[in-house]
Subunit: 218 residues, 2 copies
DNA sequence: CCTACCGATCGGTAGG
DNA sequence: CCTACCGATCGGTAGG
């Protein structure tokens, strides 16, 4: 019988949950097997045996964080109808995930991207880059669908739009945590709303404005 | 005689230069006194004696990086006339600094902001936050001056504009390094150009378009 | 600036 | 899952 990952292994899940929380604050490189073991009341070698190496622990932690991200950000947002509404929902969902502190140190993947951006390639960096690419693709796909549905102008470039939207999301995350000030999340909402408005057709603008207002006064 | 910092102390400067380069890749927390000493061909305790503690080394490294940043980004950009031209020059200068790899791991302060964003306050985090604030203020001041000179519309909010411009700069930095792809710097340039255009008056737009074109085809 | 050393912690292993 | 241990490295100190 091969082991089915994630099923019937509460200890492993508890380790990964704590590791992901910890990594969002101190980085994946800053993870310490000894510290995790102490915090969970188990021996270092007992914890180590679950993974086999620090790098494998890091990779498992990333996969765990990915599952949490999908659950916290993607699943709720994908309930919105395709197009500009979904694109807007993805952004709202991300900012809510930051505000709710799903990870205590801010967005896990933003932190990991910053940590590994300047490093040489390797399994950990590659997996982080793949997760990041998947999220960007999701934003880009929503933009493309919005353009196809004539909610965004034909002149709108979905890849450039995704870049700019992502930039506002990431910056909102950094500043919110560096300054402990929720007003930066509003700045992010405002930036995204006006950016979508700029490229929206009248149809798209109508849909956008029918949504719950992201700000008291937009 | 008190010691005049930065004068007649080539060893200290060499240490800080390497430390800042190193920190842009592995983080300020990842600095190792032993590794720095070995790389510079000196003893660990000899290097240590220059600073007195790891935290003081980190603080000195940040101040050194600040001087390099001022020299590489601010000084050239502040030669542009006040207003929208200077705001644009600050952005160009930043993206050029990223592209020239003034720090090997990307923007030192972007990396430090990401590293300390989720951590508890302390001298290192506070100094990083102050550096970040100073840069944001510089962008905001340029935007305010552009508005006063009627190069930006009266409806333009300089703090929001600074946030959005900074977001594009930071994201260009992350993606450029994560994917080793200069086209993300062009995405940043494009984002900033269209953002400034959107809030510019006809006067401001004229000035902006008279500048060297940031892209082959904008 | 150096050698020599401190206690603590690191990732990882042996053996059960 | 455990105890007991490995060599390497950490920040920092003593003494010169």
């Amino acid at each position: 019988m091969t082991r089915t990952p994630g099923v019937g292994d509460a200890t492993r899940e508890a380790i990964l949950r704590l590791a992901a929380d910890q990594a969002s604050v101190d980085g994946l490189e800053g993870l310490s097997i000894g510290q995790l073991a102490t915090a969970l009341g188990m021996s270092k070698s007992g914890l180590f045996a679950h993974f086999g190496s620090k790098e494998l622990l890091q990779l498992a932690t990333i996969e765990h964080a990915r599952r949490r991200y999908v659950h916290a950000v993607l699943v709720p947002a994908l309930q919105a109808p395709r197009g500009i509404e979904r694109l807007n929902a993805l952004c709202d969902s991300f900012l809510s995930y930051v505000e709710r502190a799903v990870f205590p140190g801010g967005c896990f993947f933003a932190a990991a991207m910053a940590e590994y951006g300047g490093k040489e390639p390797g399994p950990v960096r590659d997996l982080i880059a793949e997760c990041q690419h998947q999220w960007t693709s999701t934003l880009q796909r929503a933009a493309t669908e919005a353009r196809t549905a004539r909610q965004l102008k034909a002149s709108c470039a979905p890849d450039q739009l995704a870049f700019e939207v992502e930039a506002a999301l990431l910056s909102a995350n950094w500043y919110f945590h560096l300054r402990s000030d929720t007003s930066y999340l509003d700045r992010g909402r405002r930036a995204i709303r006006s950016r979508l408005d700029a490229d929206a057709t009248p149809t798209g603008r109508l849909l956008l404005h029918s949504l719950a207002h992201p700000l008291r006064r937009a």
